[in-house]
Amino acid sequence: MKAIIYDKESKEEKLILQEVQKPLPSENEILVKVHSTAVNAADYRSMKMGLIPKNKIFGADVAGTVEVIGENVKNFSVGDEVVGDLSAHGFGGFAQYVPANESAWVLKPQSISFDMAASVPMSSVTALQALRLGNVQPGQKVLICGSGGGVGTFAVQLAKSL
């Protein structure tokens, strides 16, 4: 499969498109054929801090189709459309296929495109958890600084949501 491999030895471009072996899922994992993935600050911040995924493939937000399931997988079947945040499961989204524990994934609603689904996980969950940490109550006044990015555009809408 094709994947973007992080090569820390490279002097110029460290993110290189390469042909690598297509992975197989372990017993609790599903292998997802990736349709869309989002880039996040978590990707370049991890690179800067030298936190490199085991397979050297970054990419946390993934939307795709289940290709193979591990033998202990209970909640998903081949062909299911799924979306997930793989930042706690070794990343791997910048590739044609990614295996990750079934606990990382949820079913993608049919009416949402893969591109749209991939834009949701990390930013929107961050926005939601920020509003909860802020203990916002109905009618309260919220100021959002830096509203135009991924987290901000979700935070504005979630803060207003009825």
Partner: protein
């Protein structure tokens, strides 16, 4: 689990939202129904009398003391991600500066399938609209990350893998 069990599963806040953004994002913020928009190129929340219950500090180079001043009694600032320097500042000076009734929190977000499912439902109901700035094919991932890192992306930057396969077949 301990962190999450402290929270309810609230996702509906019904707050009055003021956003700080640049000129290019004003129309998006209108579209997203922000109640008040402060365009930082010509205006600043720092000089205003408005006081807030919560400030989400996602980006921007404001002083922690500016945030504190703009808070109501018992208000909170939540630092979201942000640069390492902003986080360090908030950890070292924040504790001293926010000793009174106003509180400073730094968020360390955790992936949550429960939260993700809840938001996907809101997207499905069109109550939340994901904003996507640009699409790149897989082989342009470095360019996409570079664009994001410059800090001017409007919403999300997406890598479409299917597109990569048709456009860069080996």
């Amino acid at each position: 689990m301990s962190v999450h069990s402290q929270y309810n599963l609230q996702s509906h806040f019904n707050a009055e939202v003021t956003v700080v953004c640049g000129t290019r994002n004003v129309s998006i913020m209108q579209l997203l129904d922000a109640d008040h928009i402060i365009n930082y190129t010509s205006d600043s929340f720092v000089n205003k009398d408005e006081r807030y219950d919560l400030i989400l500090a996602i980006n921007g180079n404001y002083l922690l003391s500016d945030y504190k001043k703009a808070l109501k009694y018992q208000g909170r600032v939540v630092i979201v991600g942000g640069s390492l320097s902003q986080l360090l500042k908030s950890l070292t000076f924040g504790k001293l500066l926010f000793l009174g009734s106003k509180k400073l929190h730094t968020l360390s977000a955790k992936p949550s399938t429960a939260d993700l499912q809840m938001i996907l439902q809101l997207v499905e109901q069109k109550k939340v609209i994901p904003v996507i700035d640009r699409f790149y094919p897989l082989d342009q991932t470095a360019v996409a990350l570079n664009y994001l890192q410059q800090g001017h992306a409007q919403g999300k930057v997406i890598i479409n893998i299917d597109e990569a396969i048709s456009s860069s077949e080996y």
